[in-house]
Subunit: 400 residues, 2 copies
């Protein structure tokens, strides 16, 4: 089957532009015409130092990252960061407030879906008696059915810890499994308006580079796996404010847990992401994807395309919801632009739709195994036309 016959709506790893992959395939055999392929280059070579700089610089420009923040590249994905966040931010808090008792040292988690729930669980596990994880809000409590992640709760529902005791406040901007995303109105602006602001940490894995990041400068840490909008799996991107790059060994002497060297943000920053061999090929493809975005006008135009893609799909789905044919899983105002989740009322109809879509080359539309139903992922590489193809198949399979 040819690439032209397939549309890949998978939730990640996910579709990348064909033109980018063609370029990457050439670089794999011969990078910059030096007779050596990209994956065969030394990570200490001039060629790769330039690639590293270029990737840092294009992310800085596109997202308007201020000079107070480092942009770093590492491995281990979002799940690795669930641990790194805890270790680095507790080290920072220990240095600032060495005399707090463990029960007074708090990590505030806003849980709006499967991934922030996992992050919260890891914080509980890993704090190791040195701090406690506080569930600021569990969005299942404000859900329609009392058990699903289908909304971002209003800030009035949030129970934040006292600021001086808070090592950090954590949220996941887009919940890939559930299809829940913070909108401009649900973004926690109010957290940033206290006189003392605990560091704000955000998991942007599945919305990174799909649109600008609101108030990026006010975040202490943003992390994202590359394998959604911008590249192959194996690369994790960090945007880290200077004050988070702390000496973890000094914190250990004051009572914090020891931190594996490669997980300390300061190790990465001090070496410009080259403490050890980085995931070079994933960095290369990500650079090509971002250069492609830049050539097409950057994040502004891209945001408009992404806005239209989800708008036309949700509009059609809402029509069918009114007719009682399907149910959108997420409440209005919290629906993701990236992962559109719904289920058919009649499971036979759902099966027929999936088969019809598959036969027309529209692939990877099944919902996450933990929640079922349908999930349509609309990452950057999916075009407006491809969304319209999906809508046509939906109409046809419902006899409309």
């Amino acid at each position: 089957m040819d690439r032209q016959q397939v549309v890949n709506f998978g939730a990640g790893p996910s579709a990348l532009p064909t033109s980018v992959l063609e370029k990457a395939a050439k670089g794999l055999l011969n990078y910059n015409d030096n007779g050596i392929g990209l994956v065969e280059l030394s990570h200490r070579s001039k060629d790769f130092a330039k690639l590293n700089d270029d990737l840092e610089s294009i992310i800085r420009t596109q997202l308007d990252v201020p000079s107070t923040h480092h942009i770093l590249f590492t491995q281990g994905g979002g799940s690795g960061q669930f641990s790194s966040v805890v270790m680095n931010l507790l080290a920072r808090h220990t240095l600032l407030h060495p005399d707090l008792k463990p029960e007074e040292r708090v990590m505030d988690y806003i849980v709006t879906g499967s991934w922030s729930k996992k992050a919260y669980e890891e914080a509980n596990r890993l704090a190791g008696g040195k701090a406690v994880a506080n569930l600021v809000v569990d969005a299942r409590r404000t859900s329609k059915d009392g058990k699903s992640f289908d909304n971002v709760p209003q800030p009035s529902e949030w129970k934040l810890s006292p600021a001086a005791n808070t090592a950090f406040i954590y949220y996941c901007e887009n919940e890939t499994v559930d299809g829940v995303q913070f909108s401009d109105s649900s973004f926690p602006h109010h957290l940033l308006e206290n006189s003392f602001n605990p560091p704000l940490v955000a998991d942007y894995s599945s919305s990174f580079m799909s649109r600008p990041i609101p108030r990026i400068a006010d975040h202490a840490l943003i992390f994202a796996g590359a394998q959604k909008n911008i590249g192959p799996s194996g690369l994790t991107i960090l945007i880290v404010r200077n004050d988070v790059l702390v000496d973890v060994d000094a914190a250990y002497k004051l009572g914090a847990n020891p931190v594996p060297l490669t997980m300390a943000y300061k190790t990465l920053a001090d070496s410009k992401s080259l403490y050890n061999t980085p995931p070079m090929f994933a960095m290369y493809v990500s650079l090509l994807v971002l250069q492609d975005i830049q050539a097409k006008g950057g994040l502004g135009p891209l945001e408009e395309v992404n806005r239209r893609k989800q708008a036309i799909l949700y509009e059609v789905l809402e029509g069918y919801e009114e007719k009682g044919i399907l149910k959108l899983k997420v409440q209005k105002g919290s629906r993701s632009w990236m992962n559109v989740t719904f289920e058919f009322v009649d499971k036979q109809v759902e099966k027929a739709f999936l088969e019809s879509a598959e036969s027309k080359g529209l692939k990877q539309l099944k919902g996450h195994r933990s929640v079922g139903g349908i999930r349509v992922s609309l990452y950057n590489a999916i075009t407006e036309e491809q969304v319209k193809s999906l809508i046509s198949v939906l109409h046809a399979s419902l006899g409309a």
Copy 2:
């Protein structure tokens, strides 16, 4: 410049076979003719599950890994493993011997070069007051100049800790920076012949899959970054004996430090390396490389080729050493097959040789920045003919 005009003697990331990279370039755009590229596939797809199984199975067959051992894939490289080894093996030891005092819980490090030295330093740092790192031997003490890593010391020089107190014994089979490698005669066979054997841990990063691993079944853990003999950076391969897959949370309750979830070997084993998204492209290329090795007869014939490559090069270098033109850095009996290190007596001659080699497309021959001189890496993708080309350039630049 074309690939045919270049020979890449780099120490890693390093040369891969052209035919493999050509196949990988196709799979990057369209894997298994399903219209989706390898890096765009879900890691939960049937296609990728098969790739994961195939990679496990070809390593098991080629290295004769027994069923007592898991083969696992992760991220973070050798430096990540420096930390994981300490955390997992201390957890294991705590479960077995919960009542030891920290000073009685020992990690035994055999330090024969820059990488085992780094691993020893990380063990010291990360044990965090729960155990101590013991320097079994520092090979600089038995070196010719009293300060370089140029040998694997005789076992009579080793000061092992009492077996019951030893959480593990660690060595690095091939020291990439220094060019020191364990030979059959220096391999620590005697460690395996006690009635109580502490777990034996080996860093095989730069010799993995260059020849069979002696007494592989007697190792508790072998780890290797892929980016030398078999693939792109970003993939770490683990061969782990069942008894090392311990419940790190149970160990924490008995006093061990908490372990980041993605660094616990049991997490990886329980999920068949798919706890989170793995470095898929690096796994794909590694599988293609290993299939290529298998098609050519496997590790037996490969070992013979690698034996000849280093033999012809060392013979020529020894000849020039006798004439006082250059010095081999490593003592006889400890010389690496993978990384051949030497320096010219006259630095002008060294410069001229490097320039002459570079002009003929023989690249990445400079020694590691920490030690200088020349380093010729003879990984699997380097052919005997290419070694002979290097020898010709050496003769020519010396007027021989």
